[in-house]
């Protein structure tokens, strides 16, 4: 029997995890990874730490070229430009044609350019690729003035990095609150205070209308919607990412905002799978196909896709989207449905047009029977979002000691009311209540274990 030919387009978290999983289950398969960037796999979330000089550039590579050889994976550098699902082949930009038996599309997503004139000027930067980060770091070393636009984690990481390099950093917010669809007022204030402490100037209700360049095509200022001009040399853009779907244009593969896949990660075309940022996966929490731009989701999806590609039956159960991050020295954990407002702003649709890196669409949803509990203690907050008797989301700022128990409670859909009826009261006692609940849950499960043995 001929060995199966597996073709993976994309060398990120989803693609590499899939390749590794395929190799573990099919020692004879012919596995090829196509990478559009001329590097072995690197950690995209790690770019933020590269930018603030936490790690040197060599450390951002999560795999070395030797690893691909050891695992017998062919790593090809090139851009896949077209796909023919009838002939089962992918064509690269340089003309090479790659036939396949099973195809995984894991092309990921790329930053969206600003929607106003001047996006192509020198000095407009993204924290999205290794090359982009290198260019941004080179600019930041000249210590000038920068503005950052965008409402998610990446924008905040960018302001942190610029401020770290001694750049006069200005953060422009379209509304009056930081990350308005996720944070409530207090959570936003805690982080805003940290940002100011690091030297970031925050401008509220400020929108850019145009980026202005000089004669040599470099950024010299931005023009605001009010008509004012604001001088700057760097414009950091992190308004969201768009799944890379160029490859599947003119194919029968179904898409919505990304490639629609079923619970086996297969698209509507047999043998064509998708995983990671470019896949839209059925979410059992919201009962819809949802988009996650998260590293752990990409890894889990790549793993699930690979199992199905080698012929093992595996139904992917999308977990509660989870992200832990460190911004300006503050630990923030976000999981599940946490939108604090049912009726958002009038321009919500526009704001949510693109998802920012490190976030999930699920976060912005609002549970049917919303109830919340809240505790605040200095710069430490806990916010729980409940749907009836079940916990569906949580956001922790600062103290992370209850993060793992909460994640366990959410993911295993544990009814907490029967163990601790006052769980939803909130206030100062909330953290203690969570800990008590956790201990109670431990004891209860131990009791179940003992009784089942008898």
């Amino acid at each position: 029997m001929q060995p199966l030919r597996y073709l993976i387009i994309g060398n990120g978290a989803a693609g590499v995890t899939a390749a590794e999983t395929i190799r573990q289950h099919d020692p004879f398969g012919d596995v090829t990874i196509v990478s559009a960037e001329p590097y072995p796999m690197y950690s995209r979330p790690g770019l933020a730490y590269l930018f603030i000089n936490e790690i040197p550039r060599r450390q951002v590579f999560a795999r070395q070229p030797e690893w691909y050889q050891q695992m017998r994976l062919n790593l090809l550098f090139g851009t896949a430009v077209s796909l023919n699902v009838d002939r089962q082949e992918v064509r690269l930009k340089d003309g090479r044609i790659l036939p396949y038996d099973r195809l995984l599309i894991a092309t990921g997503a790329r930053a969206v350019p600003p929607p106003y004139p001047g996006a192509d000027l020198k000095g407009v930067h993204y924290l999205d690729t290794l090359d982009g980060t290198k260019a941004l770091m080179k600019q930041a070393k000249r210590r000038r003035r920068a503005i950052v636009i965008g409402g998610g984690i990446t924008a905040l990481e960018m302001t942190e990095g610029l401020a770290h390099h001694g750049v006069d950093t200005h953060y422009f917010l379209r509304r009056d609150r930081l990350w308005g669809k996720v944070f409530n007022d207090t959570e936003a204030k805690i982080l805003e205070e940290r940002m100011r402490h690091h030297g970031v100037a925050i401008h509220y209700n400020t929108e850019v209308a145009e980026i202005l360049g000089d004669r040599r095509g470099r950024v010299r200022a931005v023009r605001l919607k009010t008509g004012e001009e604001f001088k700057c040399n760097i414009v950091g853009v992190a308004i969201g990412v768009r799944p890379l779907l160029d490859l599947i244009q003119n194919t029968p593969i179904q898409t919505d905002r990304a490639i629609l896949v079923d619970q086996t990660m297969q698209s509507n075309v047999r043998g064509v799978y998708a995983a990671g940022d470019c896949a839209q996966v059925y979410d059992s929490w919201t009962k819809q196909h949802m988009l996650d731009i998260l590293w752990p989701s990409a890894v889990a999806e790549g793993h699930a896709a690979a199992l199905n590609m080698v012929g093992e039956k595996h139904e992917y159960e999308k977990g509660s989207p989870f992200n832990a991050c460190l911004l300006f020295g503050l630990h923030i954990t976000t999981m599940g449905q946490i939108n604090p407002r049912r009726n958002g702003d009038a321009d919500e649709a526009e704001i949510l047009q693109f998802l920012s890196r490190g976030s999930s669409e699920v976060w912005y949803t609002y549970p049917r029977h919303y109830a919340s509990a809240w505790s605040e203690d200095g710069a430490n907050t806990v916010r729980l979002v409940m749907d009836g008797d079940y916990l569906v989301g949580a956001l922790l700022v600062g103290d992370q000691s209850t993060a793992d128990p909460l994640r366990y409670i959410i993911e295993n859909r544990i009814n907490f009311r029967e163990v601790h009826p006052d769980f939803s009261i909130g206030g100062q006692a909330l953290k203690k209540n969570i800990q008590q609940f956790w201990i109670g849950l431990n004891q209860k499960q131990q009791a179940v274990k003992v009784s089942s043995k008898q």
Partner: protein
């Protein structure tokens, strides 16, 4: 072993392979070791970069395995620097508790 020489053997950088304190898996587990939560890891490599003896902690986190490198000096640097809370310190007693809880399911 005298108390003093025990601590010296823990903190002195090994000069050759034969100088390394060789601990069995059981002994390591009892002393305590660094254990990752693979689902939190984003492979950024901050952990390994800050390891004073150069253990590739990221590779352990990737595979979800405890850091059982015999050269680990148990300084806890990797735990403190991880931006995502991936790593934790675990002694045998603790790991028994966790295993009992996680491996045996929720029994709802």
């Amino acid at each position: 072993m005298a108390k003093e020489s025990f601590f010296r053997s823990l903190f002195k950088a090994p000069t050759s392979d034969s100088d390394r304190p060789v601990l069995s898996q059981d002994e390591l587990a009892r002393l305590g070791r660094v254990v990752p939560d693979a689902s939190r890891c984003v492979q950024c490599g901050v952990c390994g970069y800050n390891c004073p003896v150069g253990i590739p902690v990221r590779d352990y986190a990737h595979r979800g395995l405890p850091v059982d490198d015999p050269t680990c000096i148990t300084c806890g640097n990797c735990i403190n620097v991880c931006p995502r809370g991936t790593l934790r310190w675990e002694t045998q007693v603790h790991s028994l508790l966790v295993n009992r809880f996680v491996l045996e399911g929720t029994g709802d």
